[in-house]
Symmetry: C2
Subunit: 410 residues, 2 copies
């Protein structure tokens, strides 16, 4: 069971988490619970590190000391939940990353879990003790505290489930995975099941319900994941949330399972590039060296000249840096002009059914065309199609696509 | 170097602590720094544990989970100070109790340090790294976080100094140990040196500058301790603080070194006790079983009867419980009446010179008598005399004694 920051925001909510845990124990299950920091706490801690640490010197903000400070938030919640469970008459104890241990690499601030020896946890759980585990944190082989990056508690939970051979229930502030964001389309419907592949695309493409890495890990380790609401009392939920599982376990076949969107994009355009091989390597190797992730790319030939144009998208917070890098290499790359547009959004349709169905793209482009939405860049994979559009059309596009694929009538 | 909660209350003060550390490093010293939680943080954490933990069930508030939660405060400060030092171009890292390791017993919430293997710390310090150590916390042999009780960071600092063979500078919000509380007597003077024995009595008798256990430990391990101010910029302090050391190292001999007071006392009186052997054992074994510490005791024979009266003092917060225990055993003990008086204060004079000087008590009683201060209970040791008086006379008594022993003319 994993509970995020809003689910443990105060003692009253932690008590409700305790009741959810008690219900699982009463159902005869052995339980490990992974918790995030109380909401707001991580921000407070990060603000202090910004004032004291490398960020105050204009350096990358994450290091071993950043992790030592920031990991304390989950430590507090783990202790408080263990206390709460004991007061309910249950047997429980907290486990910090170094106590489990949850071994990670040394990439502080965005560490990856390499190994979780599950023996100690399993022994404690077999003896009837509920294991309350601080999420988001681990320990390096040389005994320093590490953290997994924002949203890392989902990854902790899936990794713990894999280590003890269990299933993973992610309790959050929504009651499942929806066909699209219900705040934009009130006809959005909860999915009973969604495949790992689809969930992974949804997470990458902007649906915030699960962290991308946690889905990758669940898929790789075949950990059954369920998303359900922590905001209701146990036993009162109308459904069972959404199960994330193998494609084969999904009976009801759909061509498209969901529409995702992200406003966290910026489009950078380079004009008047020399039209010869190697120019894209020039551009993208420079960005890769600076750790700027590039998402969508389109290259086009200018009509009347023999020069080319290149457009690509990066995360909004990387846009300034990407422009600087390009400006700094203007002579070597040889472009004549650069433009950046932050008023863009990426809208995507996702579905494993695309593999065997033609016409999915046509439906998308037709639906957007009918609403007068201009498509700036397109990118596709086997199970998704993404388009970059003017951000002002985001809601309109999401609703049009939701209807076009019949998602409101599932 | 040890810095308490008010010295690290915010990032600005942590930066000043950094400058104090840098000054020591510049003077060619190898430095370990022990820090408390930012002031107010421990209270916030304790309040949460009160709401979630055993205290909410009326049980003793400290356990392993309490320690896990509360120790996070020092973890944050240690990380922030290590970051601050690095930003100043110094080499530093934080050490948590389990990383050093600072091994303690399993008495959670009031654990005692049993052993600090100093090798890892020494190796780091020898390589030129400043060790920033989270105070107040340790780890049990089975890997749970423990805490040393309120004020425990002083003890951490002395224990670390002993482990690495160093001296211990306690930076606090006063610039040394005074002959009495300067808020009561403006003529109070800072002592250049004070013996371990005197400091121990002063700490036990109400002077709040050092925690009693830290002085015991410094005395046992012969760790040189200095008390000085963190609230000034390094290099600007007018003096060198107060050195706590062996009696033999103090040149200037004094009969009395200080006047201490405590308002944290309550006097309990039992009247009409049977005057036979064993009655005091009846009383005090019951209080000891309930962990109530008794301080001063006086027994007297009632004039006109063959019954006796007994008066004793306990800490104010234990008074209610002590009365309950006595009431519950009224028949067995056989007293006729019980009274409790919380309007009392204990005033003490302390000095190693008492060992070889007669007349110290006489001076005390005369000085108090001249001011019309009535003495309710007296207790003495080799190097102190304490009297219990009406709390309203506290300041008057402190000033009278300070003058009577010539402390304002040192």
């Amino acid at each position: 069971m994993k509970f995020g920051g809003t689910s443990v925001a105060d003692l009253e909510r932690i008590a409700r988490v305790g009741r959810h845990v008690a219900a699982e124990v009463a159902a005869g299950k052995k339980v490990a619970v992974v918790v995030s920091a109380m909401s707001g706490k991580t921000n407070e801690l990060v603000a202090w590190t910004d004032g004291a640490g490398p960020a105050a010197m204009g350096l990358p903000p994450s290091d071993d000391e950043y992790d030592t400070v920031v990991a304390s938030g989950e430590q507090v919640t783990a202790g408080l939940l263990a206390m709460t469970l004991r007061n309910m008459g249950l047997n429980a104890r907290s486990w910090l990353g170094w106590q489990v241990p949850i071994y990670t690499d040394e990439a502080h601030g965005r560490a990856r879990i390499d190994e979780i020896p599950g023996e100690k946890l399993l022994k404690a759980m077999d003896s009837g003790e509920i294991a309350v585990i601080a999420g988001f944190q681990g320990v390096t082989r040389d005994g320093r505290i590490s953290t997994l990056g924002r949203g890392g508690s989902d990854t902790s939970a899936v990794a713990i489930a894999a280590a003890v051979g269990g299933a993973c229930d992610i309790y959050t502030d929504v009651d499942g995975v929806y066909t699209t964001d219900p705040r934009i389309e009130s006809k959005a419907r909860k999915l009973e099941r969604v495949s790992y592949e689809e969930m992974l695309e949804m997470a990458s493409l902007g649906a915030k319900v699960l962290q991308t890495r946690s889905v990758e890990l669940a898929m790789a380790q075949r950990v059954p994941v369920r998303v359900l609401s922590s905001l209701v009392e146990p036993g009162t939920a109308p459904g069972q949330g959404t199960i994330v599982c193998d494609e084969e376990e999904i009976m009801e076949k759909r061509i498209v399972s969901g529409v995702a969107y992200s406003r966290d994009e910026a489009k950078i355009s380079l004009f008047g590039l020399p039209d010869h091989p190697g120019v894209s390597a020039q551009i993208f190797s420079r960005l890769a060296d600076a750790n700027v992730n590039v998402d969508m790319i389109v290259q086009s030939r200018a009509r009347s000249t023999d020069s080319a144009n290149m457009e690509f998208t990066v995360g909004k917070r990387d846009a300034g840096r990407a422009v600087e890098i390009m400006q700094g290499a203007k002579a070597e790359i040889g472009f004549s002009e650069i433009a950046v547009n932050e008023d863009v959004a990426k809208v995507s349709v996702i579905g494993v059914g695309m593999r065997s169905h033609a016409g999915v793209a046509k439906t998308m482009f037709t639906a957007l065309g009918e609403k007068g939405v201009n498509i700036q860049v397109i990118s596709t994979s086997e199970i998704k199609i993404s388009v970059l559009i003017d951000a002002a059309y985001t809601e309109l596009a999401v609703r049009a696509l939701h209807a076009a694929y019949g998602l409101d009538q599932l």
